[in-house]
Symmetry: C2
Subunit: 368 residues, 2 copies
């Protein structure tokens, strides 16, 4: 939708960031874009968005409880989960709020620019067989995942929780993960157990999962009914935020200025490279522009590593002419979703997949 | 020094954060304060401050070069460094700019609140024997460390580099580290090799070290002569930034509001706990206030783990009375340095170790 002419409650018109947003930005962090060089994001570079505090967990006391519309309740230790069949999947996860700080007026929340993404190798046990073992009853319509993280949001004290429909939860790639890049989950990524739902924005991948409930009615809790909805400027909650829209990002070439992050490169050939992903379908093509989107050239796609992970791309740029350039890339997926020049505005700032612009200066050759 | 009444160049009067600062805050990150519960900060939670980009390093091609005022040059592979005697030390490192965003007017740079700290177990080989092996000449006065990270700062293109005096560099605890918490250094912490200089602010612990030079004259490069100096409001570079001033931080009790980070706790006993450190001398005492600094009570200090790492502390707070409180802690070191209520202002915002204030609300007991 188009941005409103006024400043609805919960948004600010100024480009400047409020002290409340800074507190969030100092805690949470994106992936520095040069880390796009890694097909699997190294530990500590993957984005993190933590609603409340990272909970303290004693793994020997921790249990996963399955309750609700099952034939039998289950209570499993982390060792019992590790003894189940294990799967390792590379999965790209992007925060639903990525791109929020590029919207005007800007929704007040974590002020992401474009870095809220990462791809890890998640190891865990598939969820569906566990639901089957507990005897999911026919009247169950949703599966609810509850985390140990607790706080207040929109005036409501809550544990973080989100649901999936039964068919979504039973997709074979949905995992209960206990390892990230081959190591136990770090505290900030959900130790000892998190949900991984390939293709979906990050809010679905519930961290610090301690309870899985089968529900006979759709879940109407805060993060489902109030949060993570596409709101219009008038404040009515619209569609749920679900799968990731296509996005391509470029590892910025050249060297940066510390404060402004303006970039400089020497004249000559320059390999532009990055990664693109979509939660709806495989990436079909990536295009690159060096003139701010006036003209576009196709990028070469790397081999697909997995249908759950981003796809590498590259493009040889002949950067022999000194001057100022604006580099962009954009992705199209096989379902026909195209990354737009300007993102759709919504009141909470979700799913803004607008094309990123990277200004660079190609320097004049050194004299002599 | 006192803050200036006007707004010197390079500072802003507003509490709001500029888009340039947000770009830095989205890349770099602090340690969420609840991670103070860990004596050794888990990977990914330690603060990072990266001036330019994280460099791409091929470890098989990488060499450490020793050159300058040595009897002989050395060129060492990472395997050759790993074969040398190894030491593991827990070391607390804090960014010199920690606390910058609490100053008014605010110096324009990475807008740290108070989270720019972490303690890792660094494994590496002591520097002094390597300098001896290369035959450090008598006329050498400083050792210069050059990183692979390159960018522009203050209009000067540069590789990040910093020097130490020969006696400082030859301290036995100074390490060339290749492991962090038992794993190879992550890219963002200096892979494959970084300098670790216990007690000093982070700018000294040069990451991605590729060259060590012995100098017959003091180094006058940007990060030594222009950056990391205590400037007055008039713009004259004063003393160098060196060792960490004492600071205590508290793991915030209770649960937070997502956006405001306001905190709520149930009435009853509450164990306040945190960690304190100083680069000048061991921590001698920590005091806690629950009334915004009007009155103070001594905290209990945990056993010292190492003289290179922060010291845990705790204090039992009887939080039975509902109401609003402001929690503070402050540290004193054995050299007599005391953490101040208000930090000293300086033009680049270094070494602001003012006492942190955590507002919390103790709720009324649930009726019934």
């Amino acid at each position: 939708m188009d941005p409103p002419a006024d400043t609805p409650p919960g948004t600010v018109a100024s480009e400047e960031i409020t002290p409340a947003e800074l507190q969030l930005a100092a805690r949470n962090h994106g992936m520095p874009l040069e880390a796009l060089r890694h097909p699997i994001t190294p530990l500590g570079l993957h984005y993190t968005l933590i609603h409340y505090d990272i909970p303290a967990v004693d793994p020997s006391a921790w249990r996963l409880e399955l309750a609700g519309r099952f034939e039998r309740s289950l209570s499993l230790s982390i060792d019992e989960l590790r003894e189940r069949p294990a799967v390792t999947l590379p999965v790209t996860i992007e925060c639903a709020g990525n791109g929020r700080a590029r919207l005007a007026p800007r929704p007040l929340s974590q002020p992401w620019l474009v870095e809220a993404v990462g791809t890890a190798e998640w190891t865990g046990t598939p969820l569906a067989p566990l639901l089957e073992e507990a005897g999911l009853l026919d009247d169950a319509v949703e599966i609810l995942f509850t985390g140990l993280d607790r706080g207040v949001e929109g005036g409501v004290e809550q544990s973080y929780e989100r649901s999936l429909s039964v068919p979504e939860a039973c997709e074979p790639q949905v995992l209960l993960a206990y390892q990230m890049n081959g190591a136990p989950l770090p505290p900030q990524h959900g130790f000892p157990l998190r949900l991984v739902v390939p293709g979906w924005y990050g809010m679905t991948h519930v961290k610090w999962v301690c309870r899985i409930a089968a529900l006979a009615e759709p879940f109407e809790g805060y993060q489902q009914a109030v949060g993570y909805r596409i709101y219009g400027p008038g404040g009515a909650p619209g569609a749920q935020v679900t799968r990731m829209l296509p996005r391509s990002l470029m590892a910025p070439p050249g060297i940066p200025d510390f404060l402004t992050r303006q970039r400089f490169l020497e004249p000559g050939p320059c390999l532009l490279a990055g990664r693109a992903w979509s939660g709806w379908a495989p990436i079909e093509s990536v295009e690159v522009s060096t003139d701010g989107g006036l003209t576009w050239a196709p990028a070469d796609l790397d081999e697909e590593v997995a249908d759950t992970a981003w796809r590498g791309w590259s493009h040889e740029w002949d950067a022999r002419e000194p001057g100022a350039y604006e580099l962009c890339s954009r992705a199209v997926d096989a379902a026909g979703n195209r990354q737009p020049t300007a993102g759709a505005w919504n009141l909470k700032g979700y799913a803004n997949n607008a094309v990123e612009r990277i200004p660079v200066t190609v320097r004049s050759p050194e004299p002599g």
